[in-house]
């Protein structure tokens, strides 16, 4: 048996996601961003909507999302992705427009843009990766950093008395009538990743049906920022992040759970 | 011909719209026009003024220090703008509410009882048109028919039924303007 006999479609057990480029991911090994990228690209590929999809990249770790996602993308200023997406969606109402944002981008500097795009019910998908820290800039406190969690700007742990409590953006926006779908997922196991993908797929379906904002939060790890091994960080996420940011649907088809 | 005019009074007296109608009338007879308002928080109740220029040449500055004509409708405006009339120029004012009458002797001064006449005509809102009529009697820089055309342009159609009343007010103003001499002021009431 030679190589050409082996390389046949029926023997294929795995392939690189078609809509991912060949660029090497710049994320730390063990980071959840790669999986979140993959799932998003798989959905767009499987739905056959790449020619009608426009992505908006944020500022933060995923600033270079457009290097990895082989689709048309524009890179927004820090926090402004929902405003950028608003305009694109308004001008191209039949396109699938999504933002891909981290917690600092979406829940701190871009809070106003997030809330108002959600409130206007823009027909967009928001993929919100929440790892409770600023990864790109070196592990500073995020709006979603847990109480007591040490970061480089809260070295003795986040003190909620002076630094405020971690903000639950998905619950917050779910209360706005413009948000049709709000859900929280994780991607650290196959099982979780499969569920997350289903949610992303539902989100893009909602865009097709012009239902307004679909808001998909992905609670993720940041092993570098948390100063842990990938496995330790996943476990820490399960033990600490999930109790505060419980996984599951918050609003489905316009109805709060 | 270039006529540089300031119209000044209280917000709500129709100062800005009088200027606008004058400007539109100018356009109707192919003049160059500019209309420069004072704007901002003083627009309601406070003082309002507008500089209107009509000219058969390209207008340079829309903002001026000295005017050919000042149309003055309250005391504050009298205090501020009497001195801005060019020597030999014209000051037209409504004596209603004026305690300090103009004192310059190097300009022509006229009075129009705009508020009183408008009230007698049963519509205080046409006050500004009475004053406009008085001005046009002194300085017929635009023809009455062009003012009517200007009114048509500047009023939205649902107010076009008011045009005959406005015309009447202008004619009333034309018939009731009177020159004012400084000696009159010296007489005891």
């Amino acid at each position: 048996m030679n190589v050409s006999e082996i390389i046949k479609p029926e023997n294929q057990v795995f392939c690189k996601t078609k809509l991912m480029t060949d660029a090497t991911l710049s994320y730390c090994p063990g980071c959840g961003h790669g999986t979140a990228h993959n799932l998003t690209m798989e959905v767009i590929d499987e739905m056959g909507i790449v020619a009608d999809t426009i992505g908006v990249a944020p500022v933060g770790c995923s600033v270079l999302a457009y290097d990895f996602m082989n689709i048309d993308m524009t890179q927004a200023a820090h926090g402004r992705a929902p405003a950028v997406a608003t305009a694109i969606s308004r001008l191209w109402p039949n396109k699938y427009v999504f933002t891909y944002q981290g917690d600092g981008d979406l829940a701190a500097i871009g809070t106003a843009e997030t809330i108002h795009a959600c409130n206007r019910g823009e027909n967009i998908v928001v993929i919100f990766v929440n790892n409770g820290i600023y990864g790109m800039t070196g592990g500073q406190m995020a709006p979603t950093t847990l109480s007591g969690m040490p970061t480089s700007t809260s070295p003795y742990g986040r003190d909620v008395k002076t630094m405020g409590s971690p903000i639950k953006m998905t619950e917050l926006v779910a209360n706005l009538p413009g948000v049709y779908f709000a859900t929280r997922h994780a991607v650290h196991t196959h099982k979780h990743a499969r569920k997350a993908k289903k949610a992303i797929q539902k989100a893009f379906e909602n865009t097709r049906l012009k239902k307004g904002v679909s808001f998909v939060e992905i609670v993720s790890n940041c092993n570098s920022g948390w100063k842990m091994t990938p496995l330790e960080s996943n476990q820490w996420m399960v033990d600490n992040m999930f109790p505060y940011y419980p996984l599951g649907d918050i609003k489905v088809d316009g109805v709060l759970k | 011909m270039t006529e540089e005019i300031i119209i000044a009074g209280f917000g709500g007296q129709g100062v800005l719209s009088m200027g606008k109608i004058l400007a539109y009338s100018g356009i109707m007879q192919d003049e160059e026009v500019s209309w420069m308002p004072s704007y901002g928080p003083e627009m309601r109740g406070g003082t309002a003024n507008v500089t209107v220029i009509l000219s058969d040449e390209r207008i340079s500055s829309p903002y001026l220090k000295m005017y050919d004509t000042a149309i003055i409708l309250n005391q504050q405006s009298m205090d501020k703008f009497e001195e801005t009339v060019k020597p030999g120029g014209t000051l037209l004012y409504d004596p209603n509410g004026i305690s300090q009458h103009p004192t310059r002797t190097d300009i022509k001064i006229y009075q129009i009882e705009g508020a009183k006449l408008a009230a007698e005509m049963g519509n205080k809102k046409i006050f500004n048109m009475v004053v406009l009529g008085a001005f046009l009697k002194i300085k017929p820089i635009v023809k009455l028919e062009n003012v009517i055309e200007g009114l048509k342009k500047s009023l939205s159609e649902r107010y076009h039924y008011l045009i005959p009343l406005n015309k009447e007010a202008i004619i009333e103003g034309m018939g009731n303007v009177s020159p004012y001499t400084i000696e009159e002021q010296a007489l005891p009431n």
Partner: protein, 374 residues
């Protein structure tokens, strides 16, 4: 030239935007330019041409909506007044860096800070020297009449798409709030989505078809690539200087003294020229219509002809620096201007010419003299 109207500068600009087939306007209310969005909303542009008009939650959101729309090759604009433009500067820098066509309008009011709502030209530096971060410039058009408020909308988009660069229309409260005659152009059709894709498919993000994907970004983590980007921008600016400089000369042929003024100040200075000539003073006016590119060469040449130059601006002395740079000390250049929202009168401008230029014994003595405005 189709329809003659009496309009405010702000309204004429808004109406011109609809007629020029602009695809979208995003803005936030601020005096003295709110008539722009008010006129647009009242005119139901979505019904007239399909133009999208949206009141954003902030100036920041508005300029980023502009960024989004421009990313897709659409004709998009925003307007604001000074404090609002300060907020937009981040987005403007991104537009410049990402090489996107867009039109931004600043109806300037006095500052700094919340300042005043009255007219001013104190944003000259902000407009022509960058304003936002990084090595970029804006092509800056300075309308001096309601007609130009209307005409410059289309001109600005022509330049924005010629160079794939943001263009600023630098107006002020006087030009925005005054009414003049304006000839409005005929309605142009908006270009269709298919045409956008055809014309701008080489760069605009409209969905990846069988072509290579398009990316809009201003980020280059590799310094060499970033420098190449900056060089690309510099080339555009050099080309603008060569091909798209605009200015107007008024009574310059026999002028012994020269005013340099733009926008509302140019109107006032023009009247000062008239007053000066009545007094026997041979004054002229050079009006830069574009502030970048700046009429450097024209000033350099006029400097051989005139005895002195007065830069007339509604600010504490900003453009005067560019005038001095242009004339290379061949002739004395002084500044005159009121600030805080006060508008100088033509008489004041003429007096300043007489005092600061004609009868000034210390003319040209910039080093030992105190600030020219006090």
């Amino acid at each position: 030239m189709s329809e003659l109207k009496l309009m405010k500068g702000n309204e004429a600009l808004a109406e011109a935007a609809i007629r020029a087939g602009v695809d979208a306007y995003f803005g936030y209310p601020i005096t003295p330019q709110s008539e722009v969005i008010e006129h647009l909303m009242a005119e139901r542009p979505e019904e007239r041409t399909g133009m999208i008009v949206l009141q954003a939650e902030s100036e920041i959101a508005a300029i980023n909506m502009v960024y989004g729309a421009a990313s897709t090759g659409k004709k998009v604009m925003t307007s604001s007044s000074s404090p609002g433009i300060s907020l937009k500067l981040e987005g403007i820098s991104y537009l410049a860096g990402a090489e996107l066509p867009a039109v931004i309008v600043n109806v300037v009011r006095g500052g700094p800070g919340l300042g005043t709502i009255q007219p001013s030209q104190a944003d000259y530096f902000q407009s022509v020297k960058g304003g936002g971060h990084g090595d970029y410039k804006l092509y800056v058009l300075a309308p001096a009449s309601v007609q130009e408020m209307s005409d410059f909308v289309e001109d600005a988009f022509d330049i924005a798409f010629k160079y794939r660069a943001p263009v600023l229309i630098l107006s002020d409260g006087l030009i925005g709030q005054m009414m003049e005659k304006v000839y409005l152009k005929d309605q142009q059709e908006r270009i269709s989505d298919e045409e956008v894709i055809k014309k701008y498919g080489g760069w605009a993000v409209t969905g990846k078809t069988d072509r290579k994907r398009n990316i809009i970004t201003s980020l280059d983590l590799q310094s060499e690539k970033m420098e190449a980007r900056v060089h690309r921008l510099l080339k555009k600016y050099a080309q603008m200087e060569k091909e798209d400089l605009r200015f107007e000369k008024i009574s310059c042929d026999d002028a012994e003294y020269l005013f340099v003024a733009y926008g509302s100040s140019a109107r006032i200075a023009q009247k000062a020229v008239e007053l000066a000539r009545k007094k026997g003073i041979k004054a002229g006016l050079l009006r830069p219509i574009t502030l970048f590119p700046f009429p450097k060469q024209q000033l350099f040449e006029l400097a051989d002809q005139v005895k002195g130059i007065l830069s007339v601006e509604l600010n504490a002395g900003q453009m005067v620096e560019d005038v001095r740079l242009s004339v290379e000390h061949k002739v004395a250049v002084e500044h005159f201007g009121r600030t805080g929202g006060i508008i100088h009168t033509p008489e004041e401008v003429l007096e300043a010419l007489e005092e600061k230029i004609i009868h000034n014994e210390r003319i040209g003595d910039y080093k030992t003299r105190e600030s020219s405005i006090l």
